[in-house]
Symmetry: C2
């Protein structure tokens, strides 16, 4: 048992993982120890409400106000505390465009890679995302991620052999399959599996059962089996099959959501696992319930898993802050000079 | 040129295709000639608004009111005109449960197969749907359709060899692939491709482009190519790829919807076409624009198509009405005795 010495609880950094649907923030002390944490439902989708997308200044004011609202108490207690944020907050629709690092990309993100947003009381630093550029010659789509690069940096620290080759899967609205070797991201693929699940169960015709969903692990397992079926009729047809099962009295309407969850996760794994042939073990990082679901799916395909919790983002933010000199290695806060930054790529997603 | 003789314009039947998202109805004269037509946006989803799902009487009153509102003028002009309706109106959440015929099913639907809904001014007859029963031993989902059986009956009439073997594809919210031989439905599969497209483009994160969609046939063709790609990363990942293409400036945000349309249709065809191996020609039946899209997808796979228009439902309703004796073969309306009807299957979908 380590006694709680006063020095250990000195705040050194505010870390934020500010995504499309949620914002999580941590007050971090020496060695990245979590002193306090807050979670704000909503995220970027809520920020956009009532803001003119074509007015970056209005958007910046809205982000600053939300940031100060959530983190203000920590800043008032420790004036000048540095802040580091990852996630969609650094996208073109976010606070400020923080650019991308092209894959393959080393994960030693440092000061020059960060985008600085000066505020009255200090500076918020934004972590760049990662990008697989599209191939215009063969019209093959690339891929993008924001926030997961920081989770991966944090997750690697908790692995036995961080320099070895790893496949990490970060389940969520947009699940990422990330291949890493020697602390370098070699490639990654995004599947919008969580989004499809949410759309179908919240807005789709299958949602009109009049029943409140009830957790049903057996229905989830049946959905996995259907999604992995050798009789591969595709996702759009396998999803509709749930309707026939309910009509035939073979699936409770209240268990429909878990069945559909199994179908979409299995369909994702059936397509993306073969791209990592030979992989015996996958590291899952994210929400506990979602990781359990992916672990069950991968187990059906003979692949073992280990799970790193969602706070990997906090560990990753601390690592980046140390590498960028926002906090000293000894844990002392310091303010680095503004280094030369790679120009942010234009994000043409928003108008 | 056939002169428009007065006798030819005598109304014989009201035909309705009353589905989940729209109601189409026709006033039919001798030989099923279309005398008038109406279309009501909405359909079953709108009917359910404000109605207690657990109160069948309230639901029936709402259906009757809508029916009389749309078809009342026709009924007042020709009192006692029989009405025949197909589609989700015959589901458990509809006007009245009209049961299913199990596949393989002959398409000679007759009087005893219909469900009668008596009204003050006459009777509305409901066409049963078709069902592939689920396999409870192997937990394989079956399938259901309502309305398409009537479209198929009508479509067969316009084909050169209606008794031959055919594959019909009826594109829509829930696209049906139907295998027919000797006027018998041998099997069918539903893909909720249109629903996924609508969910992703109307409610999904990809819909947040701030751009009004603009028709772009080239983007649609690129989506088809991506959906058919040998690099099969699955639907959830291929859909997300559109985001990277937009970010990389390789796809106009306004063309995103057509690109996604190509992706989902190709993903459906890549899975369901192999289940009809050897098929050189497919009959498409439905909305003209959707049929063109499916024809383009199938052409990429070396399969020819012919298109039957949406009014196949009107032709099918007329055929069923003749077979059921609702109208005489000579075109005279007659009211058959209530025949012995196969008991309607319980539809456990709604609570």
């Amino acid at each position: 048992m380590t006694p709680d010495r006063p020095g250990l609880s000195t705040p050194r950094l505010i870390g934020l993982d500010w995504g499309t649907t949620a914002m999580r923030c941590w007050l971090l002390g020496d060695n990245g120890r979590i002193l306090d944490a807050r979670r704000l439902a909503g995220g970027l989708l809520d920020m956009a409400t009532g803001i003119d997308a074509a007015d970056p200044a209005a958007r910046a004011r809205a982000y600053e106000a939300t940031f100060l609202d959530v983190c203000g108490p920590w800043l008032r207690a420790v004036p000048g505390l540095p802040a580091l944020a990852c996630g969609m907050v650094g996208s073109a629709q976010g606070w400020r465009e923080a650019g991308y690092l092209d894959v393959p990309a080393r994960l030693d993100i440092t000061g020059p890679d960060l985008t600085r947003v000066p505020l009255a009381g200090g500076t918020v630093h934004l972590v760049p995302g990662l990008r697989v550029p599209s191939d215009p010659c063969h019209d093959i789509a690339g891929d993008v991620l924001r926030g997961e690069e920081t989770q991966v940096i944090g997750a690697l620290e908790s692995l036995d052999r961080p320099d070895a080759e790893h496949v990490l899967v970060l389940p969520g609205t947009h699940t990422k399959w990330i291949r890493i070797a020697d602390r370098k991201v070699l490639s990654f693929t995004t599947a919008m599996t969580g989004e499809l699940y949410a759309l179908v169960t919240q807005h789709g015709l299958l949602s009109h059962t009049g029943m409140t969903p009830r957790r049903d692990d057996a229905a989830f397992a049946r959905g996995l089996t259907a999604g992995f079926s050798a009789r591969d009729i595709g996702l759009a047809a396998t999803l509709f099959g749930a309707r026939a099962l309910v009509l035939d009295g073979l699936l409770e309407p209240a268990a429909l959501a878990d069945y559909l969850s199994g179908v979409v996760i299995a369909d994702e794994a059936r397509h993306l696992l073969p791209r990592h042939a030979g992989t015996q073990r996958i590291t899952l990082c994210g929400n506990g319930d979602l990781c359990r679901r992916y672990a069950a799916a991968l187990r059906m395909r003979g692949v073992g898993t280990e799970v790193v919790g969602e706070d990997a983002a906090a560990a990753g933010l601390w690592s980046v802050a140390v590498a960028a000199g926002l906090v000293g290695v000894d844990g002392n806060t310091c303010w680095p000079d503004s280094g030369k930054r790679t120009p942010a790529r234009r994000d043409s997603w928003s108008a």
